[in-house]
């Protein structure tokens, strides 16, 4: 069996990649995909701990995370489309009305 820390390390690296994507990319769609990357790395952690502890609660949590991720994608993408209609851009730097 593969020890659980290997899964946790992989999950940490994937999460960091998602952080880098959110912090450095300017395309709203790619920022979105990076958020999905982070959600998935956390899901991997939940499943790994569920295996380690022999309890199904971690897998149930992953189920709920997936539901919320689906809702988040639907609402987020419709917001991106609405912004694209109004401002003709998906660049997050161009949406700076709140900038002082």
């Amino acid at each position: 069996m593969i020890p659980i820390p290997y899964y946790l390390a992989l999950s940490a690296v994937l999460f960091t990649m998602g952080v880098v994507g959110v912090l450095t990319r300017r395309n709203a769609l790619v920022v979105f995909m990076s958020i999905e990357l982070m959600l998935n790395s956390v899901n991997l952690t939940f499943v790994a701990f569920a295996r380690q502890l022999g309890s199904l609660e971690g897998q149930v949590t992953v189920f709920f995370v997936m539901v919320i991720a689906a809702v988040e994608v639907v609402v987020g993408l419709s917001i991106i489309i609405a912004i694209f209609r109004i401002r003709d851009t998906v660049d997050v730097d161009d949406v700076d009305l709140l900038r002082g």
Binding site: F15, L23, E36, L37, R51, Q52, F84
Partner: protein, 168 residues
């Protein structure tokens, strides 16, 4: 038995890491979406290794089947002007982002390194099947389950309202 598991884990981990790099580095958003698909598929394999068959199937159906397809639709819908050609307004954002990410990774790896793992317990044949997960889901977690369906309905309505746009 153990050797083939190491091979499968290695292949899935390499696939996940390569896909993650693709999401972050790809210039065209459509390539990022396809790289995300690679990550999701690799994670489904890892879920199978971790005795989570039901979650692995959900991963393929919900993430790979629905979410990535939705992302691809939107990428194609907005294909005009989705490159990153123009100069950035925040020139220091990129190095600071990399620095913060490196600090985060160092913190997590430090926490991981100190942990001595207890040996993996054996789990029963039924662990992680749809039957066993549903058994927990529909007894102890039935209220959150119903709330999740309400959240889904709210999300659908919100998407319709936002997507309809401003009408006079």
């Amino acid at each position: 038995m153990a050797a083939i598991e190491v091979v499968i884990f290695g292949a899935a981990a390499v696939g996940a890491l390569a896909g993650g790099l693709g999401v972050v580095l790809a210039r065209a958003p459509i390539r990022a979406a396809l790289a995300l698909l690679l990550v999701l598929g690799s994670l489904a394999v890892l879920y199978l290794l971790l005795a989570a068959q039901f979650i692995a199937v959900l991963q393929v159906i919900i993430y790979a089947g629905a979410i990535v397809v939705l992302l691809l639709f939107v990428v194609m819908l907005l294909h005009a002007r989705t490159g990153e050609a123009r100069p950035t307004k925040l020139p220091r954002q990129r190095p600071v982002g990399f620095l913060l990410a490196a600090v985060f990774l160092a913190a997590v790896v430090t926490a991981l390194r100190d942990a001595a793992p207890p040996p993996l317990p054996a789990v029963g044949q039924g662990f992680g099947t749809a039957e066993s997960v549903a058994g927990v889901l529909f007894t102890r977690y039935v209220l959150p389950f119903e709330l999740a369906s309400m959240v889904l309905v709210v999300g659908i309505v919100a998407a319709v309202v936002i997507g309809r746009g401003a009408r006079p």
